[in-house]
């Protein structure tokens, strides 16, 4: 399966486009790295592809089919700051089960401890929350993962743990990944191919 974004253009302000005629193709068996400076529009592209921004021009398709918006969205975005993506008044088991109930085995792979499930989001660290937000995105209906700087704020040890578990799961379940980061060294380790944002964005 291929995820294709064709000729995407988007502007926050009239006549000041941030994305212009941008095309990208991601196969389901690969990790594509995307590198670019801060403020260049990487996150905007992520939001377009994963359906958060709707009034763009161009198309986002899975194997040339437009994506059904009424069902579970098969392209899931994982954000840089997990604490901003969770309801502060929900305990962690509810945060997780909003998407699905992962098997115990998978929870162990991601290093989720059982006693974390009864806690509130503000009682866990960023690294612990990020494990939840990744696992939450790995619903069986997910076909592609867009990882927008998901390990930037984590220490090096947690960074390896998270990527190791995510890459492993995605390989087994044929989920393609778009890994966005400004860290070249990280992308060289995790990605099959690296694209430079400024080269594909035809501003």
């Amino acid at each position: 399966m291929y995820l294709n974004a064709n000729n995407i253009s988007y502007a926050y302000k009239k006549n000041k486009p941030i994305l212009k005629n941008l095309s990208i193709s991601i196969p389901d068996n690969k990790v594509i790295g995307l590198m670019g400076d801060s403020g260049s529009g990487k996150s905007t592209l992520c939001k377009v592809i994963s359906g958060y921004i709707k009034n763009y021009t161009g198309t986002v398709t899975l194997d040339n089919n437009l994506i059904e918006t009424k069902d579970f969205y098969p392209i899931q975005l994982i954000f840089q700051h997990p604490e901003k993506t969770m309801n502060p008044k929900w305990k962690m088991h509810k945060v997780l089960s909003e998407s699905w109930n992962p098997p115990q085995e998978l929870m162990d792979t991601f290093g989720l401890k059982d006693n974390w499930l009864g806690r509130w989001p503000n009682e866990l660290s960023g690294g612990e929350l990020q494990r939840f937000s990744i696992l939450r995105a790995l619903n069986p209906k997910t076909k592609f993962i867009i990882a927008d700087e998901i390990s930037t704020m984590l220490d090096a040890v947690t960074q390896v743990q998270i990527w190791d578990a995510l890459l492993d799961y995605c390989k087994q379940n044929k989920i393609g990944i778009l890994a966005v980061s400004h860290d070249k060294e990280l992308l060289e380790v995790i990605a099959d191919d690296i694209l430079l944002f400024n080269e594909i964005n035809k501003l």
């Binding site: 400076d37 801060s38 403020g39 290093g111 401890k113 006693n115 974390w116 009682e123 866990l124 660290s125 960023g126 690294g127 612990e128 704020m153 984590l154 220490d155 090096a156 040890v157 947690t158 960074q159 390896v160 743990q161 990527w163 190791d164 400004h182 860290d183 060294e185 990280l186 060289e188 380790v189 995790i190």
Partner: protein, 313 residues
């Protein structure tokens, strides 16, 4: 240690929180932290984000929130700092470079807040000085007329830096000066910090970015679960064998360029009886489970691990 600018001894920081109704809960964020900064030296504290490192900076300046409690002693040039003393020194001898523009007043022009509250007759002098400092750090004159929201990330960082340096402090505490900056701005920050040390100032750098610590610091303190577990010379971080604590080793080996090596285990959430790294440690022994190791000197390297007290005895 006569040339120590800042000495932090056995500092613990905790917060009293209300849990349910009137039930209180004490949350310990930093435990038994000791370190020192000499003149012309950069000492980095490296720990994951959200681990509470910034609170040390706040404790040194005496700006902890009211429910925060700080035990232990912090001294500046051999003199123990009380709250009154901190208030006297901060802004003059000890300055903070805060984490983000959120620390600036959004309704005040940059120039006005850089010089702070000065008497009318001294204002002209202060403005002249402010102009010089802004120029030194590459800020155009019109930046002074801007409001904080008009600044870009790199400009904001320079404003925060030059504001902190206006009073020519002896000690600079830099709290996460690089997040969200692109590589060019990060390199500039690194050079600015090095320059401060060359001018003879002491710098305490609080960061979670290992590369920034490696490039600027003379010594690096590793922060784990509220404890400093090792303080080692920056050059030793290029060779894993010169590092003592198993966590420090796995941290360095986990870097993408050093092999991206996987170490499992997470930092404990609650205060544990023994060593904070006990659960994940490959070289643990029985003593580690229930006895907390102290931070001890091992050939000039500070280490918190029972495997090294044995050698001392």
């Amino acid at each position: 240690m006569e040339n120590d600018l800042l000495t932090v001894q056995n500092v613990s920081i905790s917060f009293t929180q209300y849990v349910q109704g009137l039930q209180q809960h004490i949350l310990k964020v930093i435990s038994d932290l000791s370190l020192s900064v000499k003149e012309g030296e950069v000492v980095a504290i490296l720990g994951s984000s959200g681990s509470g490192k910034s609170l040390l900076a706040h404790a040194i300046l005496g700006i902890l929130p009211e429910n925060g409690q700080c035990d232990g002693t912090i001294s500046f040039k051999g003199e123990v700092l009380t709250q009154e003393k901190k208030e006297e020194l901060r802004g003059e001898h000890i300055c903070l470079i805060p984490q983000s523009v959120n620390f600036l007043d959004p309704l005040m022009k940059v120039r006005e807040q850089a010089i702070g509250d000065v008497k009318d007759e001294e204002k002209e002098k202060a403005l002249k000085h402010q102009k010089e400092i802004f120029e030194k750090y590459g800020l155009a004159e019109e930046v002074g007329d801007m409001y904080p929201f008009e600044l870009s990330g790199g400009m904001a960082r320079k404003v925060l830096l030059s504001t902190a340096l206006l009073s020519d402090p002896e000690l600079v505490v830099a709290d996460e000066p690089t997040p969200g900056l692109d590589q060019a701005s990060v390199n500039e920050t690194i050079n600015d910090i090095k320059r401060l040390a060359q001018e003879g100032k002491g710098v305490l750098l609080i960061t979670h970015e290992i590369d920034v610590a490696l490039k600027t610091a003379d010594r690096i303190a590793i922060f784990y679960s509220g404890y400093v577990i090792e303080i080692n010379k920056a050059e030793n971080f290029n060779d894993v064998n010169k590092l003592l604590h198993p966590y420090t080793k796995s941290l360095i080996e986990a870097l993408p360029r050093n092999g991206f090596k996987l170490t499992s285990g997470v930092q404990p959430l609650e205060e544990v009886d023994g060593c904070p790294y006990f659960e994940n440690c490959p070289i643990r022994s029985d003593i580690c489970q229930n006895n907390k190791p102290d931070l001890i000197d091992h050939n000039g390297i500070m280490i918190r691990c029972h495997n090294f007290d044995k050698e001392v005895n």
